[in-house]
Symmetry: C2
Subunit: 326 residues, 2 copies
């Protein structure tokens, strides 16, 4: 049984020795799962994340991560973080702003001006929120127009709010707001919600969520704060809808700027192209989770992809085959 703690090549000069075997950029489902496995493979592993936990930490209730009947997003991701640390991974709270090929290694630069070297990179940067692009949306951002119900919902106690979008995220935002606001509208361009059916059942039970389909918001208006939105077709006889707050849940765009820098191939919509092993077209660069061309954006899927990415990095760095029984 050979020790595998040092897998950097023996013929390197000491000053060139990468500090890490694997640097994982992003600390959500994919990044932290990759860290758990990478560290268990005895690879020296660093996770760089501005906010460990990722997008899910804004979810009050997660009921679809297999293994937990009901848990808050933040609590679930604290468990992931604790597990990654207990396996030996390091976590750096910082933002990776650039990655470049540095001889045979990779150099990661961070916002806090650190320069970190590694033999392999796993990109698990997830997605950024898609912004509402109609007149007034930018002007009223944080003055009535919001992108996070968990963060900003509490301002709207007993007020009237609207949520734009028909996805799971939109449903979760509406359900959260329904317990704070007196009335919640969901505005969606489609004919019916495209969220999980069980969420529609939950929303019906709440009683104060009204869905308006086949409708787009074309303008947001107000004085100091937002006070109404303009629709592209009348609702209740008017294209004007008086709301105190508007929560935008119209999807997300892959956070793939760092990948692009590295020459990683992207899809037309900016997702990182990976194969079934989570390999990109650049040797030593792997990707996992919502930033990739994944068939389904779910936490459990991202976590599994993180595990595959770490396993592929391990195979590349050590030449070992892995056939775990569980």
């Amino acid at each position: 049984m050979k020790s595998e703690k040092k897998i950097v090549k023996a013929d390197k000069k000491p000053e060139e020795k990468p500090a890490y075997d694997v640097i994982i950029i992003g600390g959500g489902f994919a990044g932290l799962s990759a860290a758990i496995y990478s560290a268990r493979y005895n690879l020296k592993t660093l996770v760089i994340s501005k906010q460990p936990g990722g997008a899910i930490i804004n979810a009050a209730h997660v009921e679809n991560y297999p293994g937990y009947v009901n848990i808050s997003g933040i609590e679930l991701m604290q468990k992931f973080e604790e597990q990654a640390k207990s396996c030996g991974a390091e976590i750096l709270i910082d933002d990776a702003i650039g990655v470049m090929k540095h001889k045979e290694e990779f150099k990661v630069e961070t916002e806090q001006q650190k320069e970190l070297l590694s033999n392999a990179i796993i990109i698990a940067t997830g997605t950024d929120r898609r912004k509402l692009e109609v007149p007034g949306a930018k002007e009223y951002e944080s003055k009535g127009v919001h992108y996070c119900a968990t963060c900003d919902g509490a301002f709207y106690k007993n007020k009237v709010v609207a949520v734009i979008g028909g996805s799971n995220s939109s449903a979760h935002a509406a359900m959260l707001l329904s317990r704070i606001a007196k009335q919640v509208y969901i505005l969606y361009r489609g004919e019916e919600m495209r969220c999980e059916p069980i969420l529609c059942t939950h929303m019906e039970e709440l009683g104060n969520i009204k869905m308006i389909f086949n409708t787009n918001v074309v303008q947001v208006k107000g004085t100091k704060f937002l006070d109404k939105i303009i629709l592209d077709r009348p609702f209740d006889g008017s294209v004007e809808l008086a709301v105190d707050g508007l929560f935008v849940e119209i999807g997300s765009v892959p956070s793939s700027a760092i990948a692009k820098q590295l020459g990683v191939e992207l899809t037309q919509s900016g997702e990182i192209k990976v194969n079934i092993q989570q390999e990109t077209n650049v040797k030593g660069v792997f990707a996992a989770g919502d930033v990739t061309n994944t068939p389904l954006r779910q936490g459990i899927i991202a976590a599994a992809q993180g595990v595959k990415a770490a396993t592929s990095a391990y195979k590349m760095l050590t030449g070992k085959k892995v056939t775990g029984a569980w």
Copy 2:
């Protein structure tokens, strides 16, 4: 928002109406995750499993399922089962012994002589243990030759045992046995263990596990019970090794007999061929987990595949696109 509780076709005669939208065969990581999602999609879902939980329930410690730092296999799978039930899935403790196409539906026959109809089938039957095929192995099965350290390890308190194999399962068996037996040998045909490195570290710390590499067991001998094994090359000057118990961990074979019956395409080694959506070549038949041609046999990977299989079944049955945000 349309109700989706009834998705069976309206023009069917009542007596032909399938009782279930989805029948899942197998209740391990893949089967129960599929059940959680299928039920959340408001599909009428049944899991048929001889022993809910699957192979992992014999693991005393699971440390690599993201979300749990350390949990027993049985406890983890109880959580999966509870979650599947809380989402509305039914679980039948029985063995599916045959599945056939029945008009446009599928008919599942069970050991307890039930006949159950569904619109879609998810096969998540996992693997069976590969048997040791050397003279004496069959004769001494359960009389010294065992396939489950968790089940049978306790018979060997302060005795000498050997484990055959170099995988994670082999390492887990050896670690469990090392706390019961006075001496544990690992016999492996390879040059070094191929388990996760962290398990090698754990085994070293235990102190009573001796690894013998490049060695095969060619015969097992005894009187009423096993008392020695014959190696294909000498260890400590002899090809005979005195042991009280032998635990065989030489891998597994996919349990794909039911799939074969249905005309599902298999690989040469008997794994169900699936695409990235977990679809097989037979419309309406999906597969997930260790029974498939998966790139990595890990619980988290099987769970993610179960989710994808359920999502594909939902798409087929309802024509809906699913783009969940988590």
